[in-house]
Symmetry: C2
DNA sequence: ACCCTGTTTCGAAGACTGTCAAGATAGGCG
DNA sequence: CGCCTATCTTGACAGTCTTCGAAACAGGGT
């Protein structure tokens, strides 16, 4: 959440080099996307308004705890939010966070 | 390089969930960006037409071999190209690769 | 031919990651 | 209250990653 603000200052990679502090804020977000399971989880979450863990878990040949761990990584990276409603926990993306990463990769017409 | 083609088929994360094969192709590219040193290296490379390793190394408190290792990761992820010209090796970004990652993160006006 | 500088490869140490089983926690229902 | 299901946390293990120093390789200059 503090990360969100820090990110707001970042312009595309090609504009000027990131300093060490900026890189330290952004890299963990990319790192969270750097696992195929998490990338699929995020894309499943992003493709609907919200989704229950109980709908995510069966899509993988992985244990519940493992899925839970990956969701925690996405949560701590600030890429998704979760909310418990009764028995189930619902996840949704944080569009600003993802959009900010997108902006960073938005190269002008170089090359 | 095969990765480049495979990527070309990917629409934004929110459009529909990635399948396991697509995720396996894209995740390593995000993973390469998931280290602060590599993110800074890439941003330094992206901010100029091309740049020599000899200009990259002194920007970090890391040994030459370590920088070389990170550059190799970026190269193998398809994010940069390198070319030896005489004594020095020059790096430049592969704009298509980076743009494709950007497209993936390009959320429509959700949320 | 020799040496010198720039870059990569190799091999090893320590930290980190993905995964699971087992146990803990949260909430609904009888 | 006690039980059941859904989810998360803990602890452990194997595999991977970051980093370094030492050694190899590439080119240019003397």
């Amino acid at each position: 959440m503090a990360d969100q603000q820090a990110l707001a200052c970042c312009s595309p990679l090609a504009a000027r080099p990131l300093d060490a502090d900026q890189a330290a804020v952004v890299a963990p977000m990319f790192k969270a996307l750097g696992d195929p399971v998490r990338l699929r989880l995020l894309s499943m979450i992003a493709s609907v308004p919200e989704i229950c863990v109980c709908d995510l878990t069966p899509a993988f040949d992985l244990s519940g705890p493992t899925i839970s761990h990956h969701l925690k990584v996405l949560r701590e990276a600030g890429l998704v939010d979760s909310e418990r409603r009764g028995t189930w926990v619902w996840y949704q993306v944080r569009p600003e966070a993802i959009r900010q990463l997108g902006v960073l990769l938005d190269l002008p017409a170089v090359g």
